[in-house]
């Protein structure tokens, strides 16, 4: 079954004549409350059980299908409430960390409710254990899985408002017009939603059905909309966890071991530290020694003063090279297919070093643990798992614990875990006081989660202008999936088209797809070494696997004497791929003459129900590479990026564009500047002057994102989608500009360190005092 056929086989119910009706609920409540029920909702194409040799598993059933299917049984609990002030509210059971899902969700409600977006209040739901798998924010899945249920709930609400208005206005329902929160009868009499909110409320819960707005009539969906929190963000009024004022929750930090995941044995000077100004508590906990005080400034000083005996962590004495040797030992062999006469081989081998997924907001949480109950506040993408584990850690029943989901200051995969929330709960219980826990940046960088180090080997064979086979063996340090995705996979395993192959291999198989006709395609993952604190960083495997694949694609094109763009276009599996490639080639001026030391690169990626192509231009000339910059790395400069993105239906094109821009900045960092160095049992990088995420001096002066017209009628994923193709295109451009195929990423990892590592004892640096002189 070809890709196009697979898509066409899916039910396209909403576009059908005699539009599809969806079932939902009216909930008994003081004002109108409507909920969506997807038990009869849009079905995902069932996975083919006997796969033909052509498509890979991800083509017929990908990670997003699994995430979406996992939400179906409980999606009826998504509720839209209409209030007497004429606003509507919706508690989104997801985590906002900058992706813009609160804005896009408000747009979905606004569309079906005929209410201005500004009158829709979206908040984040507390952890709701009854939602099972329906509160995991990951895999760029939010809009894919909530697109229909949110609209159904809002549509039911509007239906009930109209019914109530018909009575108030003494008019036929069919004759009424709803617009911007006001319902008007033919004679001009009107009534606002607020006046109807109580009247339309249900006294008992019952099922109703509803028809959704036709795509052709969308007024809000598909129209660019600014973020609903933009004003708060630029006035300092947007509250993050550390900004919350919870009574008694005083600044708290943890003194950590000099080796990764080392543990405290004893504190030698507890009394002395307790006597320091502003310090209220010192307590040994499982991860280190916690200090609580009046200001973080005083706590930092106390953490630095602690004299602690440590037990070494599990990677004591180990360095990058040791981990690489382990990966090499774990690599699966490439199976050499029987080659026809005249066939040739391209072999490639790439190394991707550890990378930090630190957000700008460090790991942090507030915990107020009493003897009989506990309350937690944190940015959490898997709050249900966090809730369970915190209750277990505290020795409480789940109903004694409340977990509030706070908007996060960035996540990039980091907030799938709840390291700070769990730690804060333990500390608060031990100190018997509320705590506001903040990880120092140095801890966040050195002890916080990393994107695992990996190798990716590829063997491609070709004859004439045909690629006969493409094998990829990805070998990675274990990616921690204990945030709830593992349990989800267990629950869904019977449905998955991949057999019994383990969690990581399942995720790999459901996310990896070579978007080209490359004959026999075989991609496999092997994992080793679970001693590190890992997690995905803005996409799990694809930035690495895509970069390896696209570099080999350039080599194949070259070997066949073909242009890199033309080769991709000819080998692309479907029209959507060809369209995004052609768009970036045209908009970006593919093939234009460029000076020596500069070049273009192009790459294609398919994931999250979408496709994107990226064209970059890079300047690798010494005058650019060697630009001086204080406490930073310059290196080659990407001077232009053009990204064409097809996510199917873009709910908020402006938000999508922002996500692509962010992915572009990540891709540039992964290719050129950002990695962690493991030396003697700890990571050297201790702050933003050591870890070189993209900075303004690395930013391309020209960035253009082209949002392709709707190709599927359904939204795809966005949050992580821009990273892989940018990373790959930068690598391809670098290869063309320098004539050298990069084999390690970032390309500067083995250069002499561009910084002096900070000490590990004390574990965090004191703040300088030069702020009035040096900016």
């Amino acid at each position: 079954m070809s890709e196009t056929a697979a898509r066409a086989a899916r039910p396209r119910t909403e576009a059908d004549p005699g539009r599809r009706r969806f079932l939902g609920y009216l909930l008994a409540a003081p004002t109108l409350a409507a909920a969506a029920d997807l038990s009869l909702g849009t079905a995902t194409a069932p996975p083919a059980l006997a796969l033909p040799s052509g498509p890979q598993p991800a083509e017929v059933y990908d990670l997003n299908d699994m995430l979406t299917d996992a939400t179906r049984p409980t999606a009826n609990l998504i509720t839209v409430v209409v209030h007497e002030d004429g606003t509507a509210s919706f508690e989104l059971p997801r985590s906002e960390n900058g992706q813009g899902i609160m804005t896009s969700s408000a747009m979905l409600v606004a569309e079906e409710l005929d209410l201005p977006v500004s009158k829709v209040r979206v908040t984040l739901a507390d952890a709701r254990p009854e939602l099972l798998f329906n509160q995991l924010t990951g895999g760029s899945n939010t809009t894919i899985s909530t697109f229909t249920p949110i609209r159904v709930a809002a549509a039911i609400a509007k239906q009930e408002l109209l019914a109530a208005a018909a009575i108030v206005l003494s008019a036929e329902v069919e004759s009424l017009e709803a617009d911007a929160g006001v319902i008007t009868a033919p004679g001009g009499a009107s009534v606002g939603y607020g006046q109807l909110a109580r009247r339309a409320a249900a006294t008992s819960t019952r099922r109703v059905d509803v028809t959704l707005t036709d795509r052709a009539d969308f007024k809000v969906i598909g129209t660019p909309h600014n973020r609903t929190d933009a004003r708060k963000a630029v006035t300092g009024r947007k509250e993050f966890t550390l900004d919350l004022q919870v009574k008694g929750a005083r600044p708290t930090m943890v003194c950590r071991a000099p080796t990764l995941n080392g543990t405290p044995v004893r504190v030698r000077n507890k009394k002395k530290v307790l006597a320091m100004p502003g310090i209220t508590h010192v307590a040994k906990v499982s991860t280190g020694v916690a200090v609580r005080g009046k200001t973080f400034g005083q706590v930092i000083r106390a953490v630095r003063a602690l004299d602690v005996e440590w037990k070494d962590g599990p990677v004591a004495g180990q360095s990058d090279a040791d981990v690489l040797a382990e990966l090499r030992a774990a690599e699966l062999p490439l199976a050499v297919p029987a080659l026809p006469a005249g066939a040739k081989t391209v072999d490639a081998d790439f190394t991707f070093w550890f990378r930090s997924n630190s957000a700008l907001e460090p790991n942090c949480a507030i915990a107020d643990v009493r003897t009989d109950r506990a309350e937690i506040w944190a940015g959490l993408k898997s709050p249900i798992t966090a809730h369970e584990e915190i209750a277990t850690r505290l020795g409480m029943t789940p109903d004694q614990v409340t977990v509030h989901v706070v908007q996060g200051g960035g996540s990039f995969g980091r907030k799938l875990f709840f390291d700070a929330a769990l730690e804060a709960a333990e500390i608060s219980q031990k100190m018997r006081k509320p705590v506001k826990l903040m990880w120092h940046r140095t801890d966040d960088s050195r002890v916080g989660r990393t994107h695992p180090m990996a190798t990716s080997r590829i063997r491609a064979t070709y004859a004439g202008s045909e690629v006969l086979s493409f094998e990829q063996r990805h070998t990675s340090v274990v990616t921690d999936n204990s945030h709830g995705l593992g349990e989800l996979i267990t629950a869904m395993s019977a449905k998955l088209p991949v057999g019994e192959i383990g969690f990581a291999q399942t995720i790999f198989a459901l996310t990896q797809e070579v978007p080209y006709h490359y004959g026999l395609v075989d991609q496999q993952l092997d994992e080793t070494d679970s001693r590190f604190n890992t997690g995905s960083m803005r996409n799990i495997y694809s930035p690495d696997t895509c970069t390896a694949r696209e570099l080999v694609t350039d080599q194949l094109a070259e070997a066949m004497g073909q242009d890199a763009f033309a080769f991709r276009r000819e080998h692309a599996k479907d029209d959507r791929a060809r369209a995004v490639l052609a768009t970036v080639a045209e908009v970006g001026g593919w093939g234009r003459r460029m000076p020596a030391g500069t070049a273009q690169g192009i790459a294609l990626h398919k994931e999250y129900k979408g496709l994107n192509a990226c064209l970059v231009e890079i300047d690798c000339r010494p005058a650019t590479v060697d630009r001086p910059v204080r406490d930073g790395v310059t290196g080659p400069r990407v001077t232009k990026v053009v990204m064409a993105v097809d996510v199917g239906l873009a709910v908020n094109p402006r938000g999508l564009e922002a996500q692509m821009q962010g992915g572009i900045m990540d891709g540039i960092a992964l290719a050129l500047t950002s990695s962690l160095h493991l030396r003697d049992g700890h990571f050297l990088e201790g702050s933003w002057d050591n870890y070189f995420y993209t900075r303004q001096w690395n930013v391309p002066p020209e960035v253009e994102v082209v949002v392709m017209p709707d190709t599927t009628g359904e939204p795809g994923g966005a949050g992580e989608f821009g990273v892989a193709s940018t990373f790959a295109a930068v690598a391809c451009a670098y290869r063309r500009a320098t004539g050298r195929t990069p084999t390690e990423f970032p390309i500067n990892h083995r250069d002499p360190l561009a910084f002096k590592p900070k000490p590990t004892v004390p574990p965090i640096p004191q703040s300088p005092t030069n702020g009035l002189r040096r900016y």
């Binding site: 630029v234 973080f296 200051g409 962010g662 995420y693 303004q696 703040s767 702020g771």
Partner: protein, 159 residues
């Protein structure tokens, strides 16, 4: 406990706190002014960027005792008050218009840095160049840099 007094967003404040506590923690933990964010504590990420007497600085790296009685500290909360009219500062409006923010954690610092940059180039009798934009040190881990560049120029034109 030593007392320290300075002007904060147009009002005199006096705090009782140790001399060496950095101003960021005096603002956030003592005075409850949370616009300036913590991102590193060592004057490199620039998330806490505010103004002292109209110029950009990082309160994470200034002892509270280093301030004079007459020093005027402006945080993002006080920025609108430094511009004419009742609304926001033109740079904040440019940020909103360009929909710059994503998670928003770095943006108070970015806006404060941008305003100070415009003032600095004006003191030098010129306008903002690409090199000036390249020189903005504030980190945005969401990668909003391209929109920041557009908004700085738009805000400059409106200031």
């Amino acid at each position: 406990m030593p007392k320290h007094s300075f002007l904060l967003n147009g009002e005199r404040v006096t705090v009782d706190v140790d001399d060496d506590v950095r101003l960021l923690w005096v603002l956030r933990d003592v005075l409850g002014v949370t616009g300036p964010k913590y991102g590193c504590g060592i004057n490199v990420c620039k998330a806490c960027t505010s103004h002292v007497n109209g110029r950009a600085f990082n309160p994470c790296s200034v002892k509270v005792s280093a301030l004079d009685r007459d020093d005027e500290i402006t945080t993002i909360e006080g920025l609108p008050g430094t511009a004419p009219g009742p609304g926001l500062h033109p740079m904040q409006e440019a940020w909103i218009d360009r929909d710059v923010a994503q998670c928003g954690y770095c943006q108070p610092g970015q806006v404060m840095a941008a305003v100070a940059l415009v003032r600095q180039v004006r003191r030098e009798g010129r306008s903002i160049t690409d090199a000036d934009l390249d020189g903005i040190r504030n980190i945005c881990r969401c990668g909003t840099y391209a929109r920041i560049r557009e908004a700085v120029r738009q805000g400059e034109a409106a200031m």
